[in-house]
Amino acid sequence: MSDKKEREPEIVGFACSYCSFKASEMAGSLRMKYPEKVRVIQVPCSSRVDPAFVIKAIFEGADGVFVSGCHPGDCHFIRGNYYTRRKMAALKEMFKAFSMDGKVKLFWISAAEARKFIEKITNMYNELREEKNAGKKN
């Protein structure tokens, strides 16, 4: 195998169309860059994300998944992201039990926080890239 070549992690992201997806659009219009292996999927609300989607993404090849929604209390549908918070906290606990911490992340990003969106995603990408390449060399 090509050991020398840097392996790039793939990240699938579920972004709420009212906040985080708007933030990603804003980042685009401000010409900010984020890793191209990050695939952002637009969902009507972050609570639309059944943890089954996350599990499916991870077992079908994604190295990391993030779910991103409005800050708690700012949901367009009033209470959606409170449910997301409970669901994702439980899902993260489950991945922790399987010693797979860091694969799933939950972000709160409002429509104005394009910079935060870029920072969070780039950090996650860098962490996963380090993990992936460190594992391969041994």
Partner: protein, 337 residues
């Protein structure tokens, strides 16, 4: 605590009075050949057995979608089965008006798969047999979270000399107690079954998971026999999560080499998450598994860990809401990464 002192004869008389009315049914255990299995009585419950040392399946599996309001059912089951029924009530699968759930102290069970028909149906004797030799005891029963009959509308408890007591927990339970002869008196002696010991949080890793589940043949028996896996349109019935035919070939071309059957990890992980707050740890999935995968270890472990997150216990109280269906505004401050 106030309850009634009963014996088997008194209870039988009370149940007789109950089933005499129209559309009244008793559900419990009864002699079936050499074994004791679930039995539903429309007439006189003559061979009703309060205790059952064999576990074949969870009795709640027969009671999905019970909505009729003009029938009445009295259920005399183990705590794990009553807890599953309570979860089904919370999930709107059962009309709670219809049924009176009575949980009975459970001495532990052995698997029906490799059972020998020499176990008695008396509590003290079953308990003695298990205290002497617990090698046959099921894993789920060794680490059971609630063996006491403290859930449901009423509970039947056993005191140390083998005497039986019945305690009402709700109005429906009190109504049933009125059918039994005798006075309600204060209880003072000690019960045989005490509170279960708390276990350590479950930790494993993906290698162990792959090793244990590598022999899965994806028959989905665990799903069909799970008392809280009630969905009519299961996620895994269609082609979306477990592709077949051309969709399957195309998937292989896109994703590369795979172990077959494809999707067994996805199936178990998603099911593990979906039942995480409602799993009662009865071990019916493991009983149904033809490949003897240690499913209870994973499902019970994960569900206890995830329920502790919200200080919830499945089937403990009918008034509690399932954590995923409710929220508090001020909680889980560290959920964000």
């Amino acid at each position: 605590m106030q309850g009634k002192r009963i014996d088997k004869e008194k209870l039988r008389v009370a149940l007789n009075r109950f089933v005499e009315k129209q559309n009244h049914i008793v559900y419990g255990y009864g002699k079936n050949g050499i074994f004791i299995t679930h039995k539903i009585y429309r007439d006189n419950p003559e061979d009703l057995s309060l205790f059952n040392p064999y576990f074949g399946l969870n009795g709640a599996t027969f009671f999905y979608r019970v909505f009729g309001k003009d029938i009445k059912v009295v259920m005399l089951l183990r705590p794990c089965e009553i807890r599953a029924l309570i979860e089904l009530v919370k999930l709107n699968q059962i009309e709670p008006e219809t049924i009176t759930m009575i949980s009975i102290d459970c001495p532990g069970t052995i698997s029906q798969k490799n059972a020998k028909a020499d176990l008695p149906d008396d509590f003290i004797e079953i308990k003695k047999a298990f205290d002497k030799d617990d090698s046959g005891l099921r894993w789920a029963c060794k680490f059971c979270r609630e063996k006491r009959g403290v859930v449901g509308d009423a509970g039947i408890r056993v005191q140390e000399d083998g005497g039986l007591w019945i305690f009402p927990y709700t109005d429906k339970g009190s109504d049933f107690l009125n059918l039994i002869d005798g006075e309600i008196i204060e209880y003072t002696a000690k019960f045989v079954i005490s509170e279960s010991i708390k276990t350590e949080p479950f930790v494993t890793d993906m290698d162990k998971f792959y090793n244990d589940f590598s022999k899965c043949i994806l028959c989905k028996n665990c799903r069909d026999m799970c008392p809280v896996c009630y969905c009519v349109d299961c996620l895994f019935n269609g082609d979306e999560y477990l592709p077949k035919g051309d969709a399957f070939i195309n998937k292989m071309l896109r994703t590369g080499t795979q172990n077959l059957p494809y999707g067994k990890e996805i199936f178990h992980m998603i099911r593990m998450y979906h039942v995480s707050q409602t799993c009662v740890g009865c071990g019916a999935c493991e009983e149904a598994c033809p490949q003897d995968i240690p499913l209870t270890k994973y499902f019970k472990g994960i569900s206890e860990r995830l329920q502790n997150l919200f200080s919830y216990m499945s089937g403990r109280d009918i008034k509690e809401t399932i954590p995923y269906l409710t929220f508090k505004e001020d909680e889980l401050k560290d959920a964000e990464d």
